[in-house]
Amino acid sequence: MSVFDPVEASHAAPSDGRSWLERIPVAYWVVGLALLIMPAIAGDFMLFQIFGWTFILGLIALGLMFLGGYGGMVSLAQMSIAGVGGYMVAIFGVSAIDTISLGWPWYVAIPIALVIAMLFGTLTGWLAVRTEGIYTIMITLAIAAAFFYFARQNYVMFNGFSGFNGVLPPMLFGVDWRDPAAFYYLTLFWAALGYLVVLYISRAPFGLALQGVRDNPRRMSALGYNVTAHRVAAYTFAALLAAIGGILLTWQSAQISPGTAGIGPAIDILVIAVIGGMRHPVGPFIGAFIYVILKTYAIDALVTLGLAGERFQLLIGVAFLAIVFWSPDGIIGLWDRLREDRKRDPLTGRGGEGP
């Protein structure tokens, strides 16, 4: 399927003599600079709600892009793993529910949360890879639902329906990290780091091998790779991304409840990754931005059009369907196609590159 056409030929070898600084494409400088000076331009709502949320959802969806784009495995459990991360900082760290929260310092609580979320992700992966391809989506959806119901019914650890509130980031360096500009930089930092790490790993042995496993598992095991272990490890790594996103998400709204990791949000992450495109790590962030914009402004737009604001789901559904139908590689697929068209030689109709 074309969502999973081989991600453009990767190079494991350092290809030329330029220093790494010189090899950074211009687009990165432009986007990077724009993102860095954003707090000077944008208002608090923009920074906190639009960009902060975009980076967080993008980070969670980035894990799905890694699994799906490089590993060929589409998991619906990313949001549940994010939820585990969020819940664990609330349980081990500080929250308003002090009967449950242990109140451990952040430098203990956060690592524990990440590790538990990664264990959960690994277990999910281990269960999901036991069957072939298309079942993955069913199994992970069922696991996501299980986590949702469990969190909702368990009062001893998860505080049931209402979950935890008052879960705040630590006052590190004397900064209130929920201050819009600070939160913006915090989420930007993790999103950018996640993006770069994924890009880097895609050309490291682990990432290359994962792509090999996606394209031809039989060949990979005939080269000495333990295909199952590689797939499970990919889940573990994707879980790390989701867990970071989940902790940030919890800090953003200062609370976590079963609804955060419900079935709707689980599917939204898939929608985000697919709309953005799973061929390149930038896709999830584009998808997240579109999703956040729609979610924030569509209600007003719909009301102006005389429709009820609740029709937002309809809008998202139609957008998703349109993308799956017409551009399986998402927005980045559309973008690539546009570029191809422009490069095309008007006489021969052939692409501008290669033979």
Binding site: A13, A204, F206, Q211, S221, A222, G224, A233
Partner: protein, 267 residues
């Protein structure tokens, strides 16, 4: 060239450790696809440095034999020993990590990657860096051995080409390079010469003959001339069974073989 392949390998040490065990020892190996016996009750013994050709008409079960030995599918019955170790129940990657290698009759390559990356993947697969999150640096040993293998199979010019753009013959050469990654102790070549031009064929023979002498292999080959030039012993298969074994001369002169194979219009 031998030096290239020997570099960093521990073959001699490993050989010392396993003593005089045979490279491959199959006892009573059968493979059924439903009711079809693709292999029945096959016994084969190959010495560590032996070079064996397997002949047989289409559907004789040659590729199935390789699949059972390399673990692509499990055999239905029988035991398979590799340098004395019973590998019958091992998954493919465990067999590969013990020094077994194979090529595929129909190339199985990563067409979206470059030649070098394909070979690099093969080198990583039998190294300890399989899960490495670090990109290879300038002086990466695995990358260096991958580059050596590019030279061994004469693909220097295509080193950075995407595999999809390679000619058929080049893809066959790449297939061989991937089987030479790491420190192979024994290799299974599945019709490496099929579909090659006469020049490519002699290049291939040169590569095979030039392999380090301690490196044994089995080669499936329809072309008697190729088989006889690279192999010192021959196994004839027919209908999933071992039909004849012997030196090339014996096989060539055997009237039954002639009637069945050399005289036949297939093959």
């Amino acid at each position: 060239m031998n030096a290239v392949l020997d570099a960093g390998s521990t073959i001699s040490e490993r050989l010392g450790a396993t003593g005089t065990a045979n490279a491959l020892e199959l006892k009573g190996v059968s493979k059924y696809f439903g009711a079809l016996a693709a292999l029945s009750d096959v016994d084969i013994t190959v010495r560590p440095s032996e070079r064996r050709a397997v002949l047989g008409s289409n559907g004789a079960g040659k590729t199935t034999l390789f699949n059972c030995v390399a673990g692509d599918f499990p055999s239905t019955t029988g035991t398979i020993r590799f340098f004395g170790e019973d590998i019958t129940q091992f998954p493919p990657h465990e067999r590969i990590r013990r020094g077994l290698r194979r090529t595929y009759q129909i190339s199985l390559l990563f067409t979206g990657l470059t030649v070098l990356d394909n070979i690099f993947l093969a080198c990583v697969g039998v190294s300890r860096s399989r899960f490495s999150f670090l990109q290879p640096g300038r002086d990466d040993a695995l990358m260096a051995s991958a580059e050596n293998l590019v030279r061994v199979v004469h693909l220097e010019d295509a080193r950075d080409e995407q595999v999809a753009t390679l000619s058929y013959g080049q893809q066959r050469q790449l297939e061989i390079a991937m089987a030479l990654a790491g420190a192979p102790r024994f290799i299974l070549f599945d019709e490496p010469a099929a579909g090659l031009s006469p020049t490519e064929r002699s290049e291939l023979i040169e590569i095979l003959v030039g392999l380090p002498t301690h490196m044994g292999f089995i080669i499936i080959e329809h072309d008697m001339d190729v088989a006889l030039r690279v192999a010192e012993s021959v196994t004839m298969m027919h209908n999933g069974r071992i039909f004849k074994e012997g030196s090339p001369a014996e096989i060539e002169d055997d009237p039954e073989v002639q009637a069945l194979y050399l005289g036949g219009d297939d093959g």
